[in-house]
Symmetry: D2
Subunit: 330 residues, 4 copies
Amino acid sequence: MNSFGRIFRVSIFGESHGECVGINIDGCPAGLPLDLDDFSIDIDRRKAGAKGTTPRKEADIPRIMNGVFNGKTTGAPVTILFDNTNTRSGDYEKQRAVPRPGHADFVASKKFGGYEDFRGGGHFSGRLTVCLVAAGVIAKKLLDNIKVEAAILEIGGEVDPEKGLQNAIDAKDTVGGIVECRVKGLPIGLGEPFFDSAEALISHAVFSIPAVRGIEFGTGFSAAKMFGSDHNDWIESMDGKTASNHAGGIVGGITNGNELVFRIAIKPTSSTPKIQQTINVETGLVEDFSVKGRHDLCIALRVPVVLEAVTAFVLADLMLLEQQISRTIK
Amino acid sequence: MNSFGRIFRVSIFGESHGECVGINIDGCPAGLPLDLDDFSIDIDRRKAGAKGTTPRKEADIPRIMNGVFNGKTTGAPVTILFDNTNTRSGDYEKQRAVPRPGHADFVASKKFGGYEDFRGGGHFSGRLTVCLVAAGVIAKKLLDNIKVEAAILEIGGEVDPEKGLQNAIDAKDTVGGIVECRVKGLPIGLGEPFFDSAEALISHAVFSIPAVRGIEFGTGFSAAKMFGSDHNDWIESMDGKTASNHAGGIVGGITNGNELVFRIAIKPTSSTPKIQQTINVETGLVEDFSVKGRHDLCIALRVPVVLEAVTAFVLADLMLLEQQISRTIK
Amino acid sequence: MNSFGRIFRVSIFGESHGECVGINIDGCPAGLPLDLDDFSIDIDRRKAGAKGTTPRKEADIPRIMNGVFNGKTTGAPVTILFDNTNTRSGDYEKQRAVPRPGHADFVASKKFGGYEDFRGGGHFSGRLTVCLVAAGVIAKKLLDNIKVEAAILEIGGEVDPEKGLQNAIDAKDTVGGIVECRVKGLPIGLGEPFFDSAEALISHAVFSIPAVRGIEFGTGFSAAKMFGSDHNDWIESMDGKTASNHAGGIVGGITNGNELVFRIAIKPTSSTPKIQQTINVETGLVEDFSVKGRHDLCIALRVPVVLEAVTAFVLADLMLLEQQISRTIK
Amino acid sequence: MNSFGRIFRVSIFGESHGECVGINIDGCPAGLPLDLDDFSIDIDRRKAGAKGTTPRKEADIPRIMNGVFNGKTTGAPVTILFDNTNTRSGDYEKQRAVPRPGHADFVASKKFGGYEDFRGGGHFSGRLTVCLVAAGVIAKKLLDNIKVEAAILEIGGEVDPEKGLQNAIDAKDTVGGIVECRVKGLPIGLGEPFFDSAEALISHAVFSIPAVRGIEFGTGFSAAKMFGSDHNDWIESMDGKTASNHAGGIVGGITNGNELVFRIAIKPTSSTPKIQQTINVETGLVEDFSVKGRHDLCIALRVPVVLEAVTAFVLADLMLLEQQISRTIK
């Protein structure tokens, strides 16, 4: 449930305001060079602090606990922890009677009988995405010569992110966005019929990222409006390169050697400064509600590196399954 | 790979022009009444024959081979076969040198070293969706008092399906569409953090349906353009009912007791009557190509019952995991 | 539950007196030559008919339904059925109130709420081992240059099987035995820490064979009486060959390049002709009971080929995982 | 690979001389009271220090990092770390050229390309069994009213452990033993046909414990010498209680409501003080070898609590699957 992958298996654990969050990677090939510096760029990309992101700042220095020896992976599970240092739990405890709209508060309480760690979203917090990023760093290193790159396409409906963000700031509200991921250099043949198609596995992993509301591959929803002769990608060369790429690099669930392209929709941050209404589960009455705590105005801004990460570990797993990555790095 | 589900586990097998296609369901609770009549409505809904669908007609009478005794499931695996009776393999053998654009022909040949059964798409054929429908029939029976219903929203960009279809007929081309699925009566609490959120599992299963290019939950891609205060669903009652349903019934990856709503995009049928170009893998030259065989003008027309089916078996599995369905039906 | 294996995944289904029993193999590499003749030797070895085995004889001709095309595996799931032609269900129905000692009758009825197919042991029948043998045939073909061979060591405590069997015949009773399996030619490195050691996976699969009561590797239980200096196998050459083989070819859960050796204990056939006592679940009274139906005097006699089969498919899966077998046979 | 279980899923990580060893438990029901004191008895039972055990002593205080809040499990993954404080790695580095007979040194080096953490057996060390014990503590708490108890049956072939141990001390050698596990209070119906029988799952988990060479249920290997009429357990009451218990509480792979009984064989500790021979992988020459480092004279002495632990978590998983344990503790 908190694990994903068949050979390169990523398990995630931790809570927003607990001692730490962390990740365990089983099946990581032995012999991959790995040190703390490898993580710094991607972890910095995810970090808060830019306009529109939460003022909560964590040091986010990965603690590699296991599976690395003499600077290389050993083949045993790799465990990485991130300490939670900057927590202000008091912000959350009083809110408990009033589940925040758009958050997991209400469903978590029902599902886990009220035993869930409710501080800062607990195990449901976006804080855990730092773990995904760490797994992604390792996966990217395995994906030698394959480039996984995600970028913001839209914020609040605006192709200029700054403008979409400014609209939200002006409205004293929060806003969503669209993020696109592109992968160059994939071999033909990744993905397994019938249920483990490349799209199926990628979308499975992608919907683990908090706030994702949709995913589309290639032309995606627009494909539904096209004629077949316009949508089909003509194969032009013996290595499978196509004249167009409406399929987004996957046909029949299998990568076709063209660029992998897909987009995801990120909902506006649920913790808006606006006054809302929600039920007080102690009184049973609907009451006014305003968010406390430090939050992102637009969580989409921090998503690209997370999206790259989950994409990378899905692909690393498929590469291992297809024997395109060796279980021991030479 | 060809299996899906943790307790209610569906495995699919077969090829379009082989002897049969079939499904095996492990973990089906014992004591569920099941006979051939249970299948007829949904299998008829999937059947070809209406305007826009292939003239290939299969009898599609399920053969229940195992797991049912005295009219009820036994708790042992349920195996159901569908004979392939109406095959014309000659249509396909000559086409082999010329992989069809938009189909899995090329990638399958590369992935499986040329050993794949290439007749009619083989294991990649939409023919296998009859198996999904059969699994869905059983899952729906388990989902007592829960209604899973899918319907066409658009064909070729037209909300009137007949019009979208007529556009394609007039253009002598094929066309895609959008299908929406709604589920009423779900309990709060289905879905597991972190990787097995309700959206993650549904999308995983949904992308196994051939021709799906995208999926979105609730307001989906439109959410990316909304402000948080507009998107949030205010909780109005102690049972979690919300004033709006932009989330589509899932928050934090967990069902929230409201209606589950999601949409999928279906690409236009790849086998268009139009002349296209593709490479001849024997000569290495690009050549003109026209589709042979019997095909759907708009595969989206047949998708709703398939979408209901995969949705139903994902939900049945989650209900079993959450102990909301007993492993023996009383 | 009815599936085993991570890449080469074997799923089993069927009942003793239903229409058929069968097997589905997912993840079988493409390009493996396979025809009916491949199965005949091993299926004949398992067949009844020799002294001490049941007079029930099945044709046991495998019906390859899927996954093979032009005489080779395609990479899609391989489904094989065996029809049940020689069933006499009347023998069993009257016995239902009186669960047979040593059989699953009582527990199956409790577990599955009375809905189980109780005829001839239903899904619990040794009949299903023909499916294991079929999976083993395919696995053995994948294990090129690796020989998997099992043989009877003892019947009823006698190293001369004929003598042990005669003792049982004279006593008008049934008898058990010990079967040893040896595998030559394995590479170093199969098995995964921590939970998927070679012994763990083999024993998991072996205990699926009905009537197995124990398993030991190398010197096994005798090792518990030895001193460490006597038990340790001294490594004598750079390829890991050891002077002795008390470990049975596995150290630390990983194959060490020496012969794999293990033994299993098979209990005496539960269906003995002797008068026994058991409860009548309708009356609640203990009553005399004598077995009806056709049964093996010594099921151990038929076990060697089944043991080879499960061993072979465990090893094939590990070889695929370790990338020692290609996913497409060249 | 380093995970086990379908709902209550235990993942293990760490190395003998790394920073820590640890365990992650996914699928643990919410609401289970858990504090440090719960662990002390079982961790003390496993600890070294008694006659025949290693002088290496670890504090072994569990650090509960995640999944517990306000003294109860939350339903999120439970992560527990054990710091490695008492390591003397220098003992091992010089030995690397000379793989120790009976240890994983040689196979680990081959399997992981020389990248493995070789200090003190690394990930293959018995040190990791402290993690199993921790998982067992939690599982036992879930198994309310079910008693899991293991005890030494023999040391070095002597039923008086002290005598067997003294024989080894006198011989300046190491020795093995036999450990028996008994479980009272299990319901009828645990275990799943065909591959996940109760024996299959227990043996799978048991062979993860280092040094196990065999397992037998009920009368085990002795059953192979018995007649059927002697071996069968007559059912005497409506709740399935049997007059004898040769089956050890499992029939047809399913628990039958009688006491679960099985035994395991533990090999003598490989690290014997005696002079042995092994190859020097740098020179290719066989040379004399004597063990350095601190070791157990008889590892079997420390196994009972570990055996209880793995048994408990297998049974907890089966109880959850059979819906006999609720996913939220009331």
